[in-house]
């Protein structure tokens, strides 16, 4: 079985390295096919592992020693258990589809080979992240996906905005990673190991304060990676990258790494329900906060990005309240329908010559029927309508919040569900139905290539049926994760389901009704609330004015005043001193023996005097 583990892990790396050899060359179709095939192999072998893992058997291998210094010993170890195999299957599945899709999407890009090299490198890093059996391996993967995310957001690096967004994402993550590192140091300081099993076995013996600190620090890292408030701004800007990247990294996999961390460290968070409650509150806040920004945005990809943020908030609510398996389940279903939504958006973008403003689209159903159907499926799943996947997982999260008697959180999520339904169908309506604005603007949309559509159908299928896997999923993962006990009455549970479905349906109905008639008038745009939302609560401006500008000013000050006038000046002074001394003493080297002899005599005299003055006192 170890063989399959190594195949799963290293097949994407091999693909990435091979594609990297051709990175600077013009497009070679086979790099795309090869990397897709290798990631596909990785997916198949993780399916084999999925069949292998059960309640009694997990796979835990130590590939080699990596760092061993004194008492510190960190092996390259990998573990395939119920949680990591779910992540592996999800990641490799979505990755395979995104790879195949990208062959079509990046068709005319001159850096075709480089793209696939980065994309496969990302898959490899993500697998390291989820498969590692210790926190350091997780951290390596964590940084690896951060690096790949940077490379892929800034893939079109000649665009100023893209490279800016890439740097923003990278720097935001570094700030949060500092928190994560502190957590890791604290773990090592207190327990003396990074291995999950040792850490979780010994965490009970620690002072509860220490555990709280560890949990909080790790969560700061998770906040950065999963773009939770206040680190959320990078995710929307990351939409500068190619759309398959947004689908894979910024919807399905990397951003869920934060949730994975909480689930993986559930033995820690289980001990500190207070921190868990804070996590859940922040998650609920982000769920509504991000959904509200998605309501008014006009950028096709940004709407979906905010929706991702909002759904990550839902996952954090579940994870924070101790319903780890539900968080993981929502993570999985979300990966399916959200990447489908993004990939569909990619088709639309291509059809519209990279136009992203949904006000300029409308009526695309006529020309892109398949994409329209796929995106509608994804939107229904996202809105959480029975029997689509989102219904099962999202509804469970609401039930958890209610069950926890956290009614405020429940209410936030409830409102969030309504908003989700509304903005999803606002998008669908404005893009695919209504007046055909694009014709007026001279666009000639065309459907994507057939193989691209076929590649998307598995995702659509899973978006529809994944919810029915709930029971087997539950039975599978609770061997490792703590189960969550519902104490709610059946009748209350049913009422919740009805209520949530009702608000989701009314959100959809409202969006359909409103946008069928051309949407809201221009009057809405002059409202204060609209301005607030469309400017993202002025948070980017705030960051810009409160952090970036003062920082730039301080940096300029240090550069002009301190660096140039003090540091550089000192270094220059030393250099000039020697230069001038050399210029002056050059005359000694006259080449005249007589004058050199005189200098020699003078030198001896000086040394004699020194020898007398400095002689050791007896």
């Amino acid at each position: 079985m170890e063989k399959y583990l190594y195949i799963t892990l290293f097949a994407p790396l091999v693909g990435s390295l091979i594609a990297a050899f051709f990175a600077a060359k013009p497009k070679e179709l086979y790099t795309g096919i090869l990397t897709s095939a290798l990631v596909g192999i990785s997916f198949l072998s993780s399916i084999v592992l999925l069949n292998y893992v059960d309640a009694d058997t997990i796979l835990h291998v130590k590939m080699m020693d990596w760092i061993s210094v004194g008492n510190l010993s960190i092996p390259f170890g990998f573990v395939v258990d119920q949680v990591s195999i779910i992540m592996m299957v999800t990641v490799t599945f979505v990755s395979t589809i995104v790879h195949i899709y990208s062959i079509g999407y990046m068709e005319h890009d001159k850096s075709f080979n480089r793209f696939f090299s980065y994309l496969s490198a990302f898959v490899f890093s993500m697998l390291i992240l989820v498969m590692s059996d210790n926190f350091i391996g997780l951290f390596i993967g964590w940084e690896g996906v951060g690096l790949c995310s940077w490379m892929l957001i800034g893939f079109w690096y000649h665009k100023q905005s893209a490279s800016w967004a890439a740097n923003e994402a990278f720097i935001m993550n570094r700030i949060a990673d500092l928190g994560m590192l502190m957590g890791l140091f604290l773990i090592y300081w207190e327990i003396g190991s990074f291995q999950y099993d040792i850490v979780f076995a010994n965490i009970l013996n620690l002072n509860i304060n220490t555990v709280t600190w560890i949990g909080s620090f790790l969560f700061i890292g998770a906040m950065g990676k999963s773009a939770q408030f206040p680190f959320h701004t990078w995710l929307a800007d990351a939409m500068e990258g190619p759309t398959p990247v947004s689908a894979l990294i910024h919807a399905a996999t990397m951003v869920t790494a934060g949730v994975y961390l909480i689930i993986r460290a559930s033995d820690i968070y289980f001990l500190i329900p207070d921190v868990g409650y804070v996590i859940a509150s922040l998650g609920a806040f982000v769920a509504v906060f991000a959904a509200s920004m998605a309501l008014v945005n006009r950028d096709l990809k940004r709407i979906i990005a905010y929706s991702t943020l909002s759904q990550l908030g839902y996952m954090f609510v579940a994870a924070g309240l101790g319903a780890y398996w539900i968080a993981l389940f929502h993570l999985m279903t979300h990966a399916f329908f959200k990447s489908l939504l993004f990939l569909g958006a990619g088709n639309v973008m291509h059809a519209m010559n990279d136009e992203l403003d949904i006000k300029k689209m409308g009526g695309l159903y006529q020309s892109m029927r398949a994409t329209a159907i796929l995106m509608t499926i994804a939107s229904i799943a996202l809105a959480g309508i029975y029997p689509f996947a989102g219904f099962f997982s999202k509804d469970k999260i609401l039930e958890v919040a209610f069950n926890h008697e956290a009614y405020l959180l429940w209410f936030a999520l409830f409102i969030g569900a309504g908003m989700t339904a509304f903005y999803s169908f606002r998008l669908v309506m404005m893009v695919f139905f209504g007046e055909q604005v694009h014709k007026r603007l001279g666009f000639h949309p065309h459907e994507a290539r057939p193989f691209v559509i076929y590649a998307l159908t598995p995702l659509a299928l899973l978006s529809i049926v994944a919810g029915f896997l709930e029971y087997s999923f539950h039975a599978f993962v609770i061997d490792l994760l703590r189960d969550y006990k519902f104490t709610l009455d059946h009748s209350v549970g049913w009422m919740l389901i009805v209520a949530t479905t009702a608000i989701a349906l009314s959100g959809i109905a409202f969006a359909v009704y409103k946008y069928k008639r051309g949407g809201f008038g221009a009057g809405v745009e002059s409202l204060g609330i609209y301005k607030l939302l469309v400017n993202q609560y002025y948070i980017p401006q705030f960051y810009n004015n409160a952090i970036l500008k003062p920082f730039a000013a301080i940096s300029t000050f240090f550069w002009k005043q301190i660096d140039l006038k003090i540091v550089d000046a000192t270094v220059d002074l030393i250099g000039k001193m020697f230069y001038n001394a050399g210029g002056k003493t050059r005359q000694i080297q006259s080449g005249n023996l007589s004058s050199m002899l005189r200098w020699m005599v003078a030198g001896i005299a000086v040394m004699l005097v020194l020898a007398i003055i400095l002689r050791p006192m007896v």
């Binding site: 005359q587 000694i588 006259s590 080449g591 005249n592 023996l593 007589s594 005189r598 005599v601």
Partner: protein, 100 residues
């Protein structure tokens, strides 16, 4: 009575004369004479101090120096003769090819 001090003073005077010659003379031959004076000043010092302490090594050193000086002069004179043949002058100031 002539004691150690007298010898050492003589040695010092000779050394000063030699040093003065080394610094002042522009003629290469004169420079050689001056170095010989320097060496012999040191020889006198060695012998005197060796005698004073009843130690033979002072005298042995002096012999060594005489021997070395003799060979040095032999080589040096040869070089000077060669230089004179080549340039027609043994003035120090004319021997200035490596000005820094």
């Amino acid at each position: 009575m002539i004691g150690l001090a007298h010898y050492l003073v003589l040695s010092g005077i000779l050394f000063s004369i030699g040093l003065f010659g080394v610094m002042k003379r522009k003629n290469l031959l004169m420079l050689f004479f001056s170095t010989e004076i320097l060496l012999n000043a040191v020889n006198i010092g060695f012998v005197a101090v060796g005698r004073f302490y009843g130690d033979m090594s002072g005298q042995i050193f002096a012999f060594f120096i005489i021997a070395v000086a003799a060979s040095e002069v032999a080589v040096g004179l040869g070089l000077i003769v060669l230089w004179y043949k080549r340039t027609g002058s043994i003035d120090l100031d004319s021997l200035q090819m490596m000005k820094g």
